[in-house]
Protein backbone atom coordinates (compact mmCIF):
# COMPACT_ATOMS: atom_id res chain seq x y z
CA UNK A 1 0.00 0.00 0.00
CA UNK A 2 2.69 2.48 0.98
CA UNK A 3 4.64 1.45 -2.13
CA UNK A 4 1.74 2.57 -4.33
CA UNK A 5 1.55 5.89 -2.46
CA UNK A 6 5.31 6.25 -2.89
CA UNK A 7 5.08 5.63 -6.65
CA UNK A 8 2.22 8.12 -6.96
CA UNK A 9 4.14 10.78 -5.06
CA UNK A 10 7.17 10.11 -7.28
CA UNK A 11 5.16 10.72 -10.47
CA UNK A 12 3.42 13.77 -8.92
CA UNK A 13 6.73 15.34 -7.87
CA UNK A 14 8.31 14.75 -11.27
CA UNK A 15 5.24 16.27 -12.95
CA UNK A 16 5.52 19.39 -10.78
CA UNK A 17 9.23 19.72 -11.57
CA UNK A 18 8.41 19.37 -15.28
CA UNK A 19 5.78 22.12 -14.88
CA UNK A 20 8.49 24.33 -13.35
CA UNK A 21 10.68 23.78 -16.42
CA UNK A 22 7.79 24.50 -18.82
CA UNK A 23 6.88 27.61 -16.81
CA UNK A 24 10.41 28.99 -16.95
CA UNK A 25 10.45 28.41 -20.70
CA UNK A 26 6.98 29.80 -21.50
CA UNK A 27 6.27 32.65 -19.04
CA UNK A 28 6.57 36.17 -20.46
CA UNK A 29 8.78 38.14 -18.03
CA UNK A 30 11.28 37.74 -15.19
CA UNK A 31 8.87 37.82 -12.25
CA UNK A 32 6.34 35.33 -13.63
CA UNK A 33 9.17 32.98 -14.57
CA UNK A 34 10.53 33.24 -11.06
CA UNK A 35 7.26 32.43 -9.33
CA UNK A 36 6.69 29.44 -11.64
CA UNK A 37 10.15 28.06 -10.97
CA UNK A 38 10.16 28.63 -7.19
CA UNK A 39 6.68 27.39 -6.29
CA UNK A 40 6.46 24.39 -8.58
CA UNK A 41 9.98 23.15 -7.92
CA UNK A 42 9.66 23.49 -4.12
CA UNK A 43 6.39 21.54 -4.10
CA UNK A 44 7.85 18.93 -6.49
CA UNK A 45 10.91 18.41 -4.32
CA UNK A 46 8.64 18.06 -1.28
CA UNK A 47 6.65 15.30 -3.02
CA UNK A 48 9.86 13.51 -4.08
CA UNK A 49 11.21 13.68 -0.51
CA UNK A 50 7.93 12.30 0.89
CA UNK A 51 8.14 9.46 -1.64
CA UNK A 52 11.73 8.75 -0.57
CA UNK A 53 10.83 8.68 3.13
CA UNK A 54 7.91 6.31 2.44
CA UNK A 55 10.05 3.99 0.33
CA UNK A 56 13.00 3.81 2.75
CA UNK A 57 11.56 4.25 6.27
CA UNK A 58 14.92 4.24 8.05
CA UNK A 59 15.71 6.93 10.57
CA UNK A 60 18.78 8.13 8.65
CA UNK A 61 16.82 8.60 5.40
CA UNK A 62 13.92 10.35 7.14
CA UNK A 63 16.22 12.75 9.01
CA UNK A 64 18.08 13.69 5.83
CA UNK A 65 14.84 14.07 3.85
CA UNK A 66 13.25 16.32 6.49
CA UNK A 67 16.37 18.49 6.83
CA UNK A 68 16.73 18.84 3.05
CA UNK A 69 13.05 19.76 2.73
CA UNK A 70 13.28 22.38 5.48
CA UNK A 71 16.45 23.81 3.95
CA UNK A 72 14.89 24.10 0.50
CA UNK A 73 11.72 25.68 1.92
CA UNK A 74 13.83 28.35 3.63
CA UNK A 75 16.40 29.05 0.93
CA UNK A 76 14.19 29.01 -2.18
CA UNK A 77 12.07 31.83 -0.74
CA UNK A 78 15.16 33.85 0.19
CA UNK A 79 16.80 33.29 -3.21
CA UNK A 80 13.62 34.28 -5.07
CA UNK A 81 13.31 37.46 -2.99
CA UNK A 82 16.93 38.45 -3.60
CA UNK A 83 16.72 37.87 -7.35
CA UNK A 84 13.39 39.71 -7.58
CA UNK A 85 14.86 42.67 -5.70
CA UNK A 86 17.88 42.79 -8.00
CA UNK A 87 15.69 42.56 -11.12
CA UNK A 88 13.23 45.22 -9.89
CA UNK A 89 15.99 47.66 -8.89
CA UNK A 90 17.65 47.08 -12.24
CA UNK A 91 14.43 47.99 -14.04
CA UNK A 92 13.56 44.66 -15.60
CA UNK A 93 10.84 45.03 -18.27
CA UNK A 94 7.36 43.81 -17.32
CA UNK A 95 4.95 41.83 -19.46
CA UNK A 96 2.75 44.06 -21.64
CA UNK A 97 -0.42 42.72 -19.96
CA UNK A 98 0.64 43.75 -16.44
CA UNK A 99 -2.15 45.66 -14.65
CA UNK A 100 -0.53 46.81 -11.38
CA UNK A 101 3.05 48.02 -10.95
CA UNK A 102 3.76 49.03 -7.35
CA UNK A 103 7.38 49.98 -7.85
CA UNK A 104 7.90 53.58 -6.70
CA UNK A 105 10.00 54.82 -9.60
CA UNK A 106 8.86 53.29 -12.82
CA UNK A 107 11.22 52.73 -15.70
CA UNK A 108 9.69 53.71 -19.07
CA UNK A 109 7.14 51.05 -19.95
CA UNK A 110 7.61 49.45 -23.37
CA UNK A 111 4.09 50.09 -24.70
CA UNK A 112 2.20 52.28 -22.22
Amino acid sequence: MSAWVSAGLLILGATLALLAGIGVLRMPDVFTRMQASTKASTLGLGCLLASLALRNPDLSFVIRAVSLGAFMLLTSAVAAHVIARAAALGGAPLWSGTRVDERPSKPPAPDA
Binding site: A3, W4, S6, A7, L10, I11, G13, A14, T15, A17, L18, A20, G21, I22, V24, L25, V30, R33, M34, S37, S41, T42, G44, L45, L48, L49, S51, L52, R55, N56, D58, S60, F61, R64, A65, S67, L68, F71, M72, T75, S76, V78, A79, V82, I83, R85, A86, A87, L89, G90, A92
Partner: protein, 89 residues
Protein backbone atom coordinates in the same frame (compact mmCIF):
# COMPACT_ATOMS: atom_id res chain seq x y z
CA UNK B 1 8.55 -4.11 -6.48
CA UNK B 2 8.98 -3.54 -10.20
CA UNK B 3 6.40 -0.75 -10.54
CA UNK B 4 8.38 1.44 -8.15
CA UNK B 5 11.41 1.02 -10.41
CA UNK B 6 9.27 1.87 -13.46
CA UNK B 7 7.98 4.98 -11.66
CA UNK B 8 11.57 5.95 -10.80
CA UNK B 9 12.65 5.66 -14.43
CA UNK B 10 9.66 7.71 -15.61
CA UNK B 11 10.39 10.36 -12.96
CA UNK B 12 14.06 10.51 -13.98
CA UNK B 13 13.08 10.95 -17.63
CA UNK B 14 10.65 13.77 -16.77
CA UNK B 15 13.27 15.52 -14.63
CA UNK B 16 15.84 15.27 -17.42
CA UNK B 17 13.32 16.72 -19.90
CA UNK B 18 12.60 19.56 -17.47
CA UNK B 19 16.31 20.33 -17.11
CA UNK B 20 16.66 20.37 -20.92
CA UNK B 21 13.74 22.84 -21.22
CA UNK B 22 15.31 25.04 -18.54
CA UNK B 23 18.64 24.98 -20.36
CA UNK B 24 16.93 26.51 -23.41
CA UNK B 25 16.01 29.46 -21.17
CA UNK B 26 19.63 29.69 -19.99
CA UNK B 27 20.75 30.06 -23.62
CA UNK B 28 17.99 32.39 -24.88
CA UNK B 29 17.34 34.40 -21.68
CA UNK B 30 17.05 38.06 -22.64
CA UNK B 31 18.44 39.46 -19.36
CA UNK B 32 20.89 38.30 -16.71
CA UNK B 33 18.23 37.66 -13.97
CA UNK B 34 16.49 35.24 -16.36
CA UNK B 35 19.65 33.23 -16.69
CA UNK B 36 20.28 33.27 -12.93
CA UNK B 37 16.74 32.01 -12.26
CA UNK B 38 17.17 29.24 -14.84
CA UNK B 39 20.54 28.14 -13.43
CA UNK B 40 19.04 28.09 -9.92
CA UNK B 41 16.18 25.92 -11.22
CA UNK B 42 18.68 23.55 -12.82
CA UNK B 43 20.32 23.21 -9.39
CA UNK B 44 16.95 22.32 -7.83
CA UNK B 45 16.32 19.77 -10.59
CA UNK B 46 19.74 18.25 -9.94
CA UNK B 47 18.74 17.90 -6.27
CA UNK B 48 15.49 16.21 -7.42
CA UNK B 49 17.44 13.79 -9.63
CA UNK B 50 19.73 12.92 -6.70
CA UNK B 51 16.75 12.34 -4.39
CA UNK B 52 15.05 9.99 -6.89
CA UNK B 53 18.32 8.10 -7.43
CA UNK B 54 18.91 7.82 -3.68
CA UNK B 55 15.42 6.37 -3.27
CA UNK B 56 15.86 3.89 -6.12
CA UNK B 57 19.29 2.61 -5.01
CA UNK B 58 18.82 3.05 -1.21
CA UNK B 59 22.13 4.88 -0.81
CA UNK B 60 22.01 7.64 1.76
CA UNK B 61 25.33 9.15 0.63
CA UNK B 62 23.46 10.58 -2.38
CA UNK B 63 21.22 12.51 0.02
CA UNK B 64 24.30 14.11 1.57
CA UNK B 65 25.41 15.07 -1.94
CA UNK B 66 21.94 16.56 -2.56
CA UNK B 67 22.19 18.69 0.59
CA UNK B 68 25.62 20.00 -0.47
CA UNK B 69 24.39 20.80 -4.00
CA UNK B 70 21.40 22.70 -2.60
CA UNK B 71 23.66 24.73 -0.31
CA UNK B 72 26.12 25.64 -3.07
CA UNK B 73 23.29 26.54 -5.47
CA UNK B 74 21.76 28.89 -2.88
CA UNK B 75 25.06 30.63 -2.15
CA UNK B 76 25.72 31.03 -5.89
CA UNK B 77 22.29 32.56 -6.49
CA UNK B 78 22.70 35.09 -3.67
CA UNK B 79 26.18 36.00 -4.93
CA UNK B 80 24.85 36.53 -8.49
CA UNK B 81 22.02 38.73 -7.14
CA UNK B 82 24.40 40.96 -5.21
CA UNK B 83 26.60 41.17 -8.31
CA UNK B 84 23.61 42.29 -10.42
CA UNK B 85 22.64 44.96 -7.87
CA UNK B 86 26.17 46.28 -7.58
CA UNK B 87 26.82 46.40 -11.32
CA UNK B 88 23.67 48.50 -11.94
CA UNK B 89 24.50 51.25 -9.47
Amino acid sequence: MPYLDVASIIALAMLALSAALTFIRVITGPTLPDRVIAVDLIGVQLVCLLVVTAGATAQQALLDVAIVVALISFVGTVAYASYIERSRS
